[in-house]
Amino acid sequence: MQSPDDADEAELRALRHLTQSVPLDTRSLDELGHLIPAAGIVQFELDAERSRVTMRGMPRGYDDSFQQTFWSAFWACEPCSYPDTSSDRESITTLSDFYTPAQLKRTRMYRLFDQLLDFEHAMTVVLPSHAGTEARVMFFRQGRDFDERHRLTLALLRPHLVSAYQRSVERRRVAGTLTRRQREVLHLVARGFSNDQIAKHLFLSSGTVRKHLDNVFRQLKVSSRAAAVARAFPTGVPATGAGARVPLPRQSRQYLAG
């Protein structure tokens, strides 16, 4: 059990983090938990066409059949489609704004998520982006429902979360503008290759490799190889990206073997 002082310190740390200009990440979700106690906090991201959903903070993956079930349930689920049907993206909503507990349990969306996490109550904040994608941070709970204090706390945080989400979207967009060659070079950087090794693999001079990396650093606004890799591949280095398809010449296989 946390002492009141520890809880206070955790709250301050959370406020400090969430009011700073940082992108919305896993840490943000953790910190939100110190301000709004919940059994689970999940960040959903809906694409602009409302045809793909991705989730951060969920215990299980989301394959094609999940996508199908999710989207067929989405438009029938009032609290889910409310921001799209009403264009009200500012309100903080709870499931109990829309459904009684009995009604909730009859929805397909509930049955889909009931398999993944135990919950009776949920509170949602909607974070739009200029690109039309949308993040939703959902707080899940058993037992007592969220009250007005929780709703107010989330409403106070919302502009900061919107900025954070928009920063994430912008970073991803910039990462997406890298050229194929820049990505190839970064793939090899991610595998721990030196500039000289990369130059040999790609039949370039090491000056050219350096130039590619300089451009990447500038575009991504970073100053180290590790930061560039992290920024360019925010969800991990893809195993079969553009760079991986490049057949490695013989001497590089020797490097790898050695």
Binding site: A7, L12, L15, E148, A155, L157, P159
Partner: protein
Amino acid sequence: MTAISRWDDRDVGALAHVVRHGRRGHALTPPVLEDLRRVVEADYVALLERLEHAGQNDRVTVVTPSHPETGTEAASVWSHVWASEICDAEDSDGGCPADHVHRADVANVAGDRHPLAKSRIMLAPMRTPLGQARLAVIRHYRDFDERDQLLFALLRPHLSAAYRRGAERRTAGKSLTARQRTVLQLVARGWSNDEIARALLVSTGTVRKHLDNAYRQLGVSSRAAAVARAFPDGLDSAVGLRLAVGVGRADAVTGRC
């Protein structure tokens, strides 16, 4: 400010009031400033405005527990707040990141004898396309601690949303003539100058002139910017117009076929 879990009903009510004002684009009125003053436990709150568009004087709204007051004559007392250094970061909320919330020691700027010399100030810059404002939260003796500063940072986007939209509405509403507004409402619906001219039974040149004047008054250079500036809260305010010109529009469309 106390921890979130210890907020009492009055805190919750006051904070909710500030959030609501930001959402609805109501101006930062003395009652909202008083709510802000209470939750950050300040001795007083002052809103300093410097609106450039009409050559207006600085305007100060001061809110104390005993009485709110507004005036231009008090502005000179506040000149040092304009002079104090403050971050220039332009984020989406028109303010600075939280760690730049500036706490100016007035004595450095205005000297020991200044009435505010012993006060502690948290400042939030607010920018609108029409001018600048600074919101000052002031305590006479006790310094603001980190929790106070974080709460102020948390509230700032809500306060600047209220300020920005309130200021825009005030200015846009006053400066445009009824005819200019009518033309802009049609522009907002995507009509061309020709279509507007036919609907309003005037020449295209007149429509262009109305728009030129509206652009100048709003300080913009494009149709889209003029619409955004003139109707900061969306086009709902223009609903009444639809009936009045509906017939003209139909004619205009038929005439084009």
